[in-house]
Structures are given as structure tokens and as C-alpha cells.
């Protein structure tokens, strides 16, 4: 056993640093949460105080529930995020498999071309995207958002997944070929389960930006029935008056679904089932 690892001082210092970082990272979330349960006056008087009997109020949540179609916004955000992630993972993994598994002319160039998207923000093309969406009649539909987010997520997904797929044993794939499995079965049944941790990483990386995005919903899908949560919350922020109770309550609730998705994916991050397949 490594001595440095068992030294209690080192362990304490390590955990101290991690705990400190956790506190710093969670502090803003904590402030939002406690203030969402306070009256407007209490929020401004003492922003950092816990809600007590005097200051406790659910007025923010009540406003959010009454105002507009908050559940619809929730649903829209959820559909867009989950569908985009699904397509990013599916197409990203397929492209990565092709790039890592098959030798063909231009393989290298294709890989570079796909990776280029990591460096060029998709928002640069907003005007062109809007024109395309108008031309295809997809404006004000969830599909507009799903397609854009899929395009936005693919470069990183292909990049990460192709690296991982190169590490999957060739023997395993060849064993499948000799046993008569189709390339699709090899991809879905043998390779995908082995790169599951990488898939989870890609999913987590893509999920948060999609969920939080305000830009594309505002431009491509601003109408009431396809509004996402982040766009929907904007009604409480006015030019002169902002309903802080409602904003904080809406934000608190918006955290929950991503938190749930994150928990699902992070379990996959830790779990690996490679053991036993190859030495």
C-alpha cells in the first residue's frame, strides 16, 4: 500500500480540499434554493439567511404554477434534451464506429472534418440556420431545436467516442464476425455496451448546455406552445420589475430534471463491464 495514501494528514488535506470545492460549487445553488422559499422583502433584507417562520413563503412557486404553462415548458425542455441526446449518442457512436473500425480513403480527413465542429461555435451560423428552418417550415417546432442541438453535440461525441472505440478489442469484433453477427449487431450488442462509460460522459457534457440554452429557443421556437423552460422563465424578468420569487422558484425547479438525468448517467460513468471480455 502506498504510504502517502494512508497518511491521515494527507487524507484530511485531500478531503478538505474536495469539501471546500464542493461548498464553493454548491453555494450559488444553495442561495437560489433558500431564497425561493422566502418573501420578497426577506430576499432583499438578508439574502443569505435561512427561511424562518416569518420569512417563509411559497408565493414564488404559486406564481410559477399559476403563470402560463409551466408544465408544458418543462415537457418541451425534457423532450428537446432527451431527443437531442439520443440522436447525438446514436449518430455520434455510429460515425465513431465507422471512423475507428473501417479503413477507407479519406478516413483521416473525415475525422478531422467532424472534429472541426468542436472549435467553431454553432451560433456563428444562426442566421443561416434560421433561414433554413424558415425554408423547411420547422420554425416554432421542437424539431428545429432537436436538429440544431444534435448538430451542436455531434463533433465532441464523435471525437470522444472514436477514441474509446479504438480501444475495444479487435478480437472481440472479429469473433463476432466469425460467429456470423452482422456489423449492426456487432455495433449495438458488442461495442456499445463496452463504451457505455464514454457514452455517459458525452451525454453529461451535452445535456447541461442544451437544457440551459436560451439562444436557439428564443430565435427558432419562441411561440407559446414550444417554449422551453429557460425561455419560459424569462417572463418573470422584466425591464423594470423582476419577480424574483418566481424567477428563483422556476430556476429551483429547473434544476431537478437535469439532476435526475445526471444521476442516471453518472451511474454508467462508474460502472464498467469490460472485465472478463478480454484479458
Amino acid at each position: 500500500m502506498n504510504k502517502a495514501r494512508t497518511n491521515p494528514l494527507n487524507t484530511a488535506a485531500m478531503h478538505g480540499a474536495l469539501i471546500l470545492y464542493t461548498l464553493i460549487a454548491l453555494f450559488p445553488v444553495f442561495v437560489i434554493l433558500i431564497n425561493s422559499f422566502k418573501t420578497r422583502k426577506a430576499i432583499f433584507r438578508e439574502p443569505l439567511a435561512m427561511p424562518d417562520a416569518d420569512s417563509f413563503s411559497l408565493i414564488g412557486y404559486q406564481t410559477v404554477m399559476k403563470q402560463g404553462d409551466f408544465f408544458l415548458y418543462f415537457q418541451n425542455s425534457m423532450i428537446v434534451t432527451v431527443a437531442s441526446l439520443f440522436f447525438v449518442l446514436l449518430f455520434g457512436a455510429m460515425a465513431a464506429f465507422a471512423l475507428s473500425e473501417y479503413r477507407f480513403k479519406g478516413n483521416m480527413l473525415m475525422g478531422l472534418y467532424l472534429a472541426l465542429g468542436i472549435m467553431i461555435p454553432i451560433r456563428i451560423g444562426t442566421v443561416a440556420i434560421l433561414e433554413m428552418m424558415v425554408a423547411t417550415g420547422l420554425v416554432n417546432s421542437l424539431w428545429a431545436l432537436i436538429l440544431v442541438y444534435t448538430a451542436q453535440g455531434l463533433p465532441l461525441a464523435v471525437f470522444i467516442l472514436s477514441e474509446f472505440m479504438r480501444q475495444v478489442s479487435d478480437d472481440l469484433k472479429n469473433a463476432g464476425r466469425i460467429d456470423g453477427l452482422s456489423e449492426y449487431t456487432i455495433f449495438f450488442k458488442l461495442v456499445l455496451p463496452l463504451v457505455r462509460p464514454a457514452m455517459a460522459t458525452v451525454a453529461v457534457f451535452n445535456m447541461i448546455p442544451i437544457w440551459n440554452d436560451l439562444w436557439f429557443p428564443l430565435i427558432l421556437a419562441p411561440s407559446e406552445e414550444v417554449k422551453t423552460l429557460t425561455l419560459g422563465s424569462q417572463v418573470f424578468i422584466g425591464q423594470f420589475v423582476t419577480d424574483w420569487n418566481a424567477v428563483l422558484s422556476a430556476l429551483s425547479m429547473a434544476i431537478l430534471p437535469v439532476l435526475a438525468l445526471y444521476v442516471i448517467f453518472s451511474r454508467q460513468l462508474i460502472r464498467g463491464i469490460t472485465s472478463g471480455a478480454v484479458k
Binding site: 478480437d171 458488442l190 471480455a277
Partner: protein
């Protein structure tokens, strides 16, 4: 009947020419071993036979059929990989039966063949386990079982013992030899280990740099190597080579003598200085040098020899091999 015929098989990856005009015939029921140093193309050749790589030119014939364009699963072959390559999400039974299911064999045939293979390999108690719950040797047996259930025309082994420890390797080697006589099937076995080649093969194919150097039975190759490479590759410890000048012979030849053909003799032609002695009990290996040439002698029995000692080795001239500059045998 011939199980496999390769005619002028070539394989290139881009500009790299990996296999050069390979011509090999393997008879039915024969155990053929492809042996050679790493990078000699033996694994690539096996992959070409399996159909995992396409030959750039030439003809591959399994049984009566030319199979150049046949996918791996339809060639009537089964392959055992170095890394076992078991399906991690399937238990032993399903690992073995997957290929038969893909062939759409009836259920009772599948069950009967899995039972047969698991009895042969002592895997009956492990059928419901997953690969991660098995030891290395058991995994290798499952991999072999996966090949047996298919009743292939040819078994292909790609360095199947490399991942096992020494004791297990020997046992598995004996098991494979047993399987070969039991199944009476044609087998092709790739290895870089000359001991495996010598002990298992009916026919050894020695490869170097993508070319076939020599083909023959183990003893044929051992007693009658065609060139210096084959002579040096087979046999352990390896054959000694020294210029003819060292023992006062004329000509620009290289002389090769096997370590076991050297004996202690006061009037021996070869005077050496001992570097190191390995006492194995039954044998004594003497590692010495004559000038710049390293000489290994394998003496039967126990000898009291110490490092630094001067010795004279003699050998029977009829058991020495002579090679020219290009490494070809001079008879």
C-alpha cells in the same frame, strides 16, 4: 483430401507488402503450425484465411471451394483468439451457442453440441457463469468450446496460449493436442513460440518477413533446415553460429552447431571462455564466448564448471551445418 490450399497469396496494407506469394497446402486432419518472429505476417495470414482480411491477390481454397469472396461465418472455420474474445454480456452457454443460433440450427442440435463440447472441456459446471467470473484457463477453454460446437472444417488458433502462465500453458498445450486427436480435425495454429510449434505440429510453416522459409514436419526442419534462419529459429537453446575461421576451416562460411551436439573435449576445435553456467540438474547449460561469438552448450548431466574458466568444445563434423553469406545451406 486437402483441407486448405493457398495459391500465390499476397497481402498489402497500402504500400507495405505484408504477405509475399504464399503457397501452402494443408491436408485434412493435419495440425499445421505457422511460426515466426513477431511481425513476420503469420497472424495476418491467419486473418486472410479466416476472411477477416481480404487477400490482395491469390486464391484461398477451403476443401473444394474457393472462398476469397465468402464472409468469415460461411467459410466453415472457427477461430480461437489470443485474448479469448468472449462476449462479456453472455454466459458460457450462450457464448458457445451464439454462432449456431446465427446459423439457425435447431434447438436440440445446439443443446447437444454445447453439452458435448462442455463435457470434452470440463466446462459443465460453469455453463451459467459469465466470462468475468472465470479464470484465465477457463476462459480459454470456453473460447475453444465456442469453436468446437461449430464442427468447422478448419480450426484457427491465434496464439491461444500467450496469455496463460507457464504451468497452465503446458496443460492447455497437452489438451489441445488431445483435442486434435479426438476431433481428427484440421487445425492451423499461429505462434511465435518454437516449443509450441515443435510439440504440437504435424507440419510446421516457418515464416519470415511475409515469406515462407520452409515447410515440413518438426523433425525434418530440426534435422534438415534449409537456411540459417530456420536453423536458428527452431530448437532451444538456439543453434550456435560462428565463422568457419574460428575453428580453422577455410571458405567464407558460417558454421552452425546445436548446443546439444557440443561436448567437452580436450582436443576440441572450439576454445571458449565461460560467461555463465545454468545448472538445471538433468542438464547443464554453459554460456560462453569464443572471440565475439556467443556459444551455448547443453551438456547432459551435472558438471562442475565456473564462470571465467577456459574450455575446449568438440563436435561431430557430420552434425554441423554450413551456411553461405546469404544464409543458404551449403551441403
Amino acid at each position: 483430401m486437402t483441407a486448405l490450399t493457398l495459391t500465390n497469396v499476397n497481402k498489402s496494407f497500402g504500400k507495405i507488402h505484408v504477405l509475399k506469394d504464399i503457397n501452402i497446402q494443408i491436408e485434412e486432419g493435419e495440425f499445421a503450425v505457422f511460426v515466426g518472429p513477431s511481425g513476420c505476417g503469420k497472424s495476418t495470414l491467419l486473418r486472410v484465411i479466416a476472411g477477416l482480411e481480404d487477400a490482395s491477390s491469390g486464391e484461398i481454397q477451403i476443401g473444394e471451394d474457393v472462398v476469397n469472396l465468402t464472409p468469415p461465418s460461411k467459410r466453415g472455420i472457427a477461430m480461437v483468439f489470443q485474448s479469448y474474445a468472449l462476449y462479456p454480456h453472455l454466459n458460457v452457454r450462450k457464448n458457445m451457442s451464439l454462432a449456431l443460433k446465427q446459423e439457425k440450427q435447431p434447438k436440440d442440435v445446439i443443446e447437444q453440441r454445447v453439452a458435448e463440447a462442455s463435457r470434452m472441456l470440463d466446462l459443465e459446471d460453469y455453463l451459467d457463469r459469465y466470462p468475468s467470473e472465470l479464470s484465465g484457463g477457463q476462459r480459454q477453454r470456453v473460447a475453444i468450446g465456442r469453436a468446437i460446437v461449430r464442427h468447422p472444417k478448419i480450426f484457427l488458433f491465434d496464439e491461444p496460449l500467450s496469455n496463460l502462465d507457464a504451468a497452465l500453458r503446458m496443460n492447455t498445450r497437452i489438451e489441445i493436442a488431445g483435442l486434435h486427436s479426438q476431433l481428427a480435425a484440421s487445425m492451423i495454429y499461429v505462434t511465435h513460440d518454437q516449443t509450441e510449434a515443435m510439440t504440437l505440429a504435424d507440419k510446421i510453416v516457418v515464416l519470415r518477413d511475409g515469406r515462407v522459409e520452409q515447410v515440413g514436419s518438426p523433425m525434418e526442419l530440426y534435422n534438415n533446415p534449409a537456411n540459417q534462419f530456420v536453423a536458428g529459429f527452431l530448437g532451444s537453446p538456439a543453434m550456435n553460429f560462428f565463422p568457419a575461421g574460428v575453428v580453422g576451416e577455410g571458405g567464407n562460411l558460417t558454421i552452425g552447431v546445436r548446443p546439444e551436439d557440443l561436448r567437452l573435449a580436450d582436443d576440441g576445435a572450439l576454445s571458449v571462455t565461460v560467461n555463465h553456467v545454468e545448472k538445471l540438474g538433468g542438464d547443464t547449460n554453459v554460456i560462453a564466448h569464443a572471440g565475439d561469438q556467443r556459444i551455448t552448450a547443453r551438456l547432459f548431466g551435472q558438471h562442475d564448471i565456473a564462470a571465467g574458466q577456459q574450455l575446449q568444445f568438440g563436435y561431430d563434423s557430420a552434425r554441423a551445418y554450413r551456411f553461405d553469406d546469404a544464409g543458404h545451406r551449403v551441403r
